[in-house]
Assembly symmetry: C2
Homo-oligomer: 296 residues x 2
């Protein structure tokens, strides 16, 4: 076990996902002392297993939870810290934050999984030194978090990212899109399942000259351009399974530059990059949520 | 002249526009004590005339400037408070903030005209009580400001808003757009000059059944949807000359609702509205910039 210096208290972190819960102890500088993964079962047994694991660790000063959604993020709301209405059996209205606050007796910080990852990348990863950034994950769905003036943006609910409508080229009208709500919104065109349903393969399995690469890069570039043009973020960090496709980042960077047409005043400070924390972004962000919770 | 209570110091405000400078004294609660307008001539004589006017008023504790752009907003940058490269003759590199700071000997707050208006609407107008909002003006151009967690968003440069690419309907491909940089970006499709160049009349002068109304409402609704979906702002405030078109706001509200398809988690808290401060938004925001500058 790593040595923990006394001026950085030990913190707990949970990355609560739909298929697994990642549990960890560590410090606010992102050092992971101990880490454990449990499958996501029903809420009662999953939360009990998580509590048992934390009980077996040295005492933590606070806990941060970066959770799958939808969740209530308004600390003044009665349902703060709860999972809201979800198709996941048993989890609707589960009081995730409340359970651990009473079970472990520590302050709890709580946010979405993507906001957690955004916070981790902002303080300790690819977003360091920026005044504002967006973290977007492109995988089973498309979701994102935004940091502005050093703070996570909540707003009404939280940023979604996946459901904006990218423009499609004149010769691109055969696929109706895979989003049950919006058809050919960004998620309906560029998520992993959308790509699979349109072209029958993952983007990585399609040859480099296949039209899918430019199409998907073009859609994602429009999100980047939109974030630059509407919010003036300095950096867009693109993660998730689809982004592991070789060459995709470079195509998106080029298409984003073309969309901007050398016009936006802050363009020299803007970039599209990959995450630096990899699969530790969420759990690192959860440590930072725990650290914030200590001062609430 | 209105009575000024002693606990609210008198502040100065300048709304620096391309055709006129609005000068005012008043307080941080938006009360205008005295107001004066001068035409925008060359920088030297315009700034001298403004200084003369302030010299003839009771002493102010600080000055706020909401300026036409492009401007440098980073207080750590050498060109902070300057007008940057502009086609407006003589104004490139004009040190607007520095002039008044040394001439009037008071702290100066400085931001863009639209950020000033956004700040005014946020604290004293249609954005009151929201956690985050965007103010967008639709006129000669399309520009906007964003407030998140109570603060103006600067980022790299500042939000532009006008240069995102709205999707166009399948039967809407005849007009190439009026933006010299991006063709049919939002500004190239929905600004006053774009409407005039496409349909030969202002939107207000076109009959209610003319396709222009639905087209323009649809483009602007996509900006609203994008701001809701990507940033989760609670309110989008739409001002400017084009928005004075009867019925336009209602069409935009309906199209925004359709674009969202009843999906976004915070939708019950989100709305598209008109400004409340009218043409005083910018000058009111400038008082707030002055108030902020007092504590810098």
């Amino acid at each position: 076990m790593a040595t923990v210096s006394t001026d950085r208290p030990l913190l707990g972190a949970i990355e609560a996902g739909g298929t697994k819960f990642v549990l960890a102890t560590g410090t606010a500088d992102g050092v992971i002392v101990s880490r454990h993964t449990i499958p996501t079962a029903d809420p009662v047994s999953t939360m009990a297993a998580a509590s048992d694991w934390f009980d077996a660790q040295p005492a933590i000063a606070a806990l941060g939870i970066a959770s799958f959604g939808p969740v209530e993020l308004d600390r003044r709301a009665p349902l703060w810290g709860h999972i809201l209405e979800t198709p996941k059996p048993g989890w609707s209205n589960c009081d995730l934050a409340g359970h651990f606050m009473s079970d472990l007796g520590v302050p709890v910080g709580f946010d979405t999984d993507v906001n957690g990852a955004a916070l981790g990348e902002f303080h300790l990863g690819a977003g360091r030194g920026t005044s504002g950034m967006a973290y977007v994950t492109v995988g089973t769905g498309i979701g994102g978090g935004v940091i502005v003036n050093g703070q996570i943006v909540h707003g009404a609910g939280h940023p979604e990212m996946g459901h904006i409508y990218p423009r499609r080229a004149a010769d691109d009208h055969e696929f109706a899109g895979a989003c049950p709500f919006h058809g050919d919104c960004l998620e309906g065109l560029s998520s992993g399942p959308a790509i699979l349903s349109r072209w029958g393969k993952t983007l990585s399995d399609l040859p480099a000259e296949h039209e899918a690469h430019c199409r998907v890069a073009g859609y994602l570039a429009q999100l980047c351009h939109t974030l630059f043009a509407s919010l003036a973020v300095e950096r867009v960090i693109l993660g998730g399974g689809v982004m592991k496709t070789p060459g995709l980042l470079a195509r998106i960077q080029e298409a984003t530059m073309n969309a901007g047409a050398n016009y936006l005043p802050g363009r020299s400070r803007q970039s599209v990059v990959m995450p630096k924390l990899g699969e530790n972004a969420g759990i690192t962000g959860a440590f930072l949520l725990a650290e914030e919770a200590r001062s609430i």
